[in-house]
Each structure stands twice: as structure tokens, then as C-alpha cells.
Amino acid sequence: MDIMHNLGIGFAAALSFQNLGFCLIGALLGTLIGVLPGIGPLATIAMLLPITLDLNALSSLIMLAGIYYGAQYGGSTTAILVNMPGESSSVVTCLDGYQMARQGRAGSALAIAAIGSFFAGCVGTLFIAAFAPTLAAVSQKFQSPEYFALMLFGLVAAVVLAHGSVTKALAMILLGLSFGLVGTDVTSGTVRFTFGVSELFDGIDFVTVAMGLFGLAEILRNLEQKDAERQISAIGRLWPSRREMRDAWPAIIRGTFIGSILGILPGGGAILSSFASYTLEKRISKNPSSFGNGAIQGVAGPESANNAGAQTSFIPLLTLGIPSNPVIALLMGAMIIKGIAPGTAVMIKEPTLFWGLVASMWIGNLMLMVINLPLIGLWVKLLRIPYQWLFPAILVFCCVGVYSVSNSYVAVLMTAGFTVLGYIFAKLGCEGAPFLLGFVLGPLMEENLRRSMLLSGGDPMILIQRPISAALIACAIGLLLLTVIPSFQKTREEAFQE
């Protein structure tokens, strides 16, 4: 079978001693940072990005993927133990996970989250292996107009399906796209918007944007808030009882299914899927009142959905070269730094890289389950360190990290600049995520628009004369129109409440 053959290549690459090591280090570091309250996966990856850049392409991606899963797992640990979600997708985990913890069932909740995530990870990996080649085959028909339309659709969907004001998010995308254009214009060779700073000729360093907007701005925001009283629950028994397992299994399977499907959609796949799963579990439960009071299904479903979504959200990146959410955009940025153009070409030209990454996702999930349950005591200790002593250390790592990427002090100054920008965004109630998506896609969109226009002799109608791109543009416009309809607005607001 083709899938088996491909996965075989992948496992052969990912199981090398070296790559296993990087996967392990990534997962450990990801959990280590992700477990810190108030630091979500996005900030974690942004902070750890520099250390992966010295490696070869496959190892660096494997390590990043490990960091991603680790960060997500660390986030759920914090959500369950101290009721502090590091990111929006673990908000749902807080609802019942923390209640379970208060009833002395923290161990069960953590174990179920790990088991559910692992199961979801397995299914998600198979899903990618089965689905990606098909999608890649379709995308071979794509030319510039289709790619442009696809990116447009992706950006619009990311805005509409995420929370917050749509108009502001659209403006943030445009701003991100603009920042993405800084540097040398590939077609004409003109150097744009650099103000004579030679470090900007190749464009703004991606690491500085990520670190400033997400890593450091996040620290600033945490510092402005009052230190919440942190009550860390006792872990209790680590293994769920037989009854808990019986209750949790169906929820895990349903959650995995929802997550796998929703994860492919552009725009906050992980967030959307955990909310959807929680709603579904609550609706079909015989005992809906137990939700919010420590229902194990309320942890098992969303955690599985979350992880399955995280897994399948790689599909658009690996097949089409489109990041479907900010975390994936970070990974895409890392790929571009390593000289890989994400998209169909990766699978065909570098099968080892592609399948190696897919295989390492599975290995990463397995490692998380094996390592993290025994290490839980360590993570709890980490949670006890007061923030006051933690953030100066993080600050040092951020500084050295950014500096070491290109050994340039300008990069550190740029990071300071983006921290200020991130601070302004936060004060103005603008989300940084759409900015990042735009930033990564800026040069690609310009290039594809330029080629489309060349193809059509300057007629923008080309975008709606070709069936695939017309359909994508129609979807994008449809989604935008939806947000204007009052009833949809209301549902959207309700969906993102809490």
C-alpha cells in the first residue's frame, strides 16, 4: 500500500537516533515553557524558535513539531491544575478539568487528556497520510490565480472563524501583509521600506516579529495584570478508574473525529474544534448538568479534538503552502527560513522531509504520553515558581535567542520594536494572530497576484473567470457577508464567549 510505503520512509527518517533526540528535546522544552501560566503554544514556539534554526531542515521541523505538541500539552496541564488557560483552546479544558482537579481527580483528568491526545494524534497522523496526497494532487492544477484566491480565502476564513472584531482583524491582516513586503522586491530588485537598514534588505526577520509580538508582548501583558492567587490542586491518583475510562472513550473518539475535520479548515482549527466537541458532548450527554462540575467527557472530548485539529491543521500547510492558523504560520516561517517552500513540491521533491515530519508527529505524541505522565510532579514544581523570578530568566533566553539567529544586535532592537507594537495592538484591542498570518503570506500573495495579472494582461477578472479560483473567492465573499448578518453575528459572539 502506498500509505504504508510512504509512512515507512517517514519512520525510517524520523526514527534516527538524532531525530528522536530532537523530538524528545522539543517535546520536553515545549512542555517546560508551555506549562508556565499565561504562556500559550504561540508564545512558546516563538520563544523556542531560535534554538531550532541551527539544525538541518528535517530535524528542525521535527523539533518544532515536538515543541508545538509539548506546548499544547503543557497548556492543558496548567488549565487543569491551576485553572489558567494559556490559550483560547484550553479555555474549554479549564471548565471541567479544573473542577475534576478540585475534586481530587486531577491525576485522572491529566491522564485522560494525555490518552485522548495520543489517540487523536494517531488518528490525525493517519488522516494526514491518507488525505494529503489527494489534496496535493488537486493542488497540482493550481496556478497563480488559484493560489492567490486560496490565500485570500484562507485569510478571510481565519478572521471570520476567530474571535474579535472582523474589521479590526482585516486591518491587521493588511498591516501584516504590508510588513511582509519590506525588503527587496524579487521581481524588480527594488529595495523597499528599509530606511537604509541593511539588515532589512532580505525582509524583516521572522523571529523578531514572532518573539516581539507574541513572546515578549505576552510577558508584558502578564506583568500588567495582578498576580492571581495560584491554587495548585493535588494530583491524586494518576490512573483513571475503569468507569472513567468507559465514560471517556466515546468522547475521545467523537472529539478526534470533530477535530480532524475542523482542523483542516483555515482559521483557528484547534480552538473551534475544542469548542465544538464540548458543545456536542454536553448536548448528547444523558446528564448535561454534570458538565462544568467535573464531567470527564468535558475533558476527554475537547482535549482529543484539540490535538486532532492541531495535527490535521498541518495538511493545508504541507499540501498547499497555506498556514491555517498562527501556530502553523510560525512553522511556515521556520520552513521558509530553512529554504523550503511549503506546498505540493515538498511532498514530491522531498518525500523524506514530508513523511519524516508526519511520522515524527506520531512519535512526538507517543513521547508526550510516556514522558509527561511520570514527569508531572516536575511540572507542578515549576508551576510553584513565582512569576517574579521566572520572567527575568525568560527575558534572557529571548534576548540571546534572537541575537544568536543572525548574530546581529539590530535583530534585538527590532524585537524591542515589535514588542512595543504588540503592546500597542493589545491596548487597541487588536489581535496579533491575523497580523502574523498576513506577514507570512505577504510576499507570496504579491508574487501570485503579479503572475496572475501578467497571465491575464492586467485584467483582474482572471480571478473569477477560472472555476477553482472563482469558487474560492465566492466562499471568501460569502464568509465576509455572513458576518454582516445580525443573526450570524450573534451566534458568532455566543460561540466565542467564555
Binding site: T167, L223, C399
Partner: protein, 150 residues
């Protein structure tokens, strides 16, 4: 006196509007080309126009529809963190990793909104300095000098 419905939205709109105008003005110096052969400033001008339009919509929305105000900021975390970053940038080449790390922890550490426990902060700074020199220079082999110029 003009009543502003949402300070936050109003100023966000102003911010985007200014960004858009700034982008268009900056683009003037480059060749715009034509639709068939888009010049280096074609896309930026389009984006700038888009930003300006969205900015105006957001301003209008901020004026008419009520919404959140701007949360008051705290100067201390902001100033300390940014100062720590800038200090690191300016000193890393000339003073080396040890001094830079030490200062990042000391200056950055003041960002915490409480009375600074100087002695403990000093201990943390010394500890972090030793740790980062060992980790980054001896273990990870980064080409950074411990003291002075590399």
C-alpha cells in the same frame, strides 16, 4: 465636544488610517508600474488604500457605537522590559554576554510591580549570568564573547 463611543476602536481606527497613509506616502518613491506589470509599489499602495479605508470604517464605528475604552497602561513593566532589550542590543557586541545578561535581569527584573527585593534580584542576576555563559557559550558554542568584543 465630540462624544467617542469606544476609545479603543476610535484610536485603533486612527492607527490603521495613519499606517495606511504612511504606507502610501512611503510607496511614492518607488515605481508603481501598471496592472499587467506590477511595480514594487503596486501592492503596497493597494494595501495602504485598504488600510486607510478600514481605518475610516473603524473610526466611524468607534465614534458611533459604544465599546471598550483603552485600559490604562503601567509604565514600569513597559519601560523596564524595553530598556532591558535595548541595553542587551547595545551592549552584547561591546561588553559581552556576562555583562549583558546581568543587566537584562537587573533592569528587566524591576518590571515586576512590587517593591524590588534587591538582594534576591542580584542573586538571580548572578546565577543567570553564570548559567547563560555556561549554556550558550560552553555547551551550545554560540560565537559570543563572555567579556568584551568577540
Amino acid at each position: 465636544m465630540l462624544r467617542i463611543g469606544s476609545q479603543q476602536n476610535f484610536w485603533a481606527g486612527v492607527f490603521f488610517l495613519c499606517c495606511g497613509i504612511f504606507e502610501i506616502v512611503l510607496s511614492m518613491q518607488y515605481d508603481i508600474g501598471n496592472p499587467e506589470n506590477m511595480g514594487p509599489s503596486f501592492m503596497p499602495v493597494l494595501l495602504g488604500i485598504g488600510l486607510a479605508i478600514l481605518g475610516i470604517i473603524i473610526v466611524a464605528n468607534g465614534l458611533t457605537v459604544g465599546g471598550p475604552g483603552i485600559e490604562p497602561g503601567h509604565w514600569r513593566p513597559f519601560v523596564c522590559i524595553i530598556a532591558a532589550l535595548v541595553l542587551f542590543a547595545l551592549l552584547i557586541k561591546t561588553a559581552g554576554l556576562a555583562v549583558s545578561t546581568f543587566l537584562v535581569v537587573m533592569v528587566g527584573g524591576c518590571a515586576y510591580r512590587a517593591k524590588v527585593p534587591w538582594l534576591r534580584l542580584l542573586l538571580l542576576a548572578v546565577g543567570m549570568t553564570i548559567f547563560s555563559v555556561v549554556l550558550f557559550i560552553y555547551i551550545l558554542g554560540q560565537p559570543i564573547a563572555v567579556w568584551g568584543t568577540a
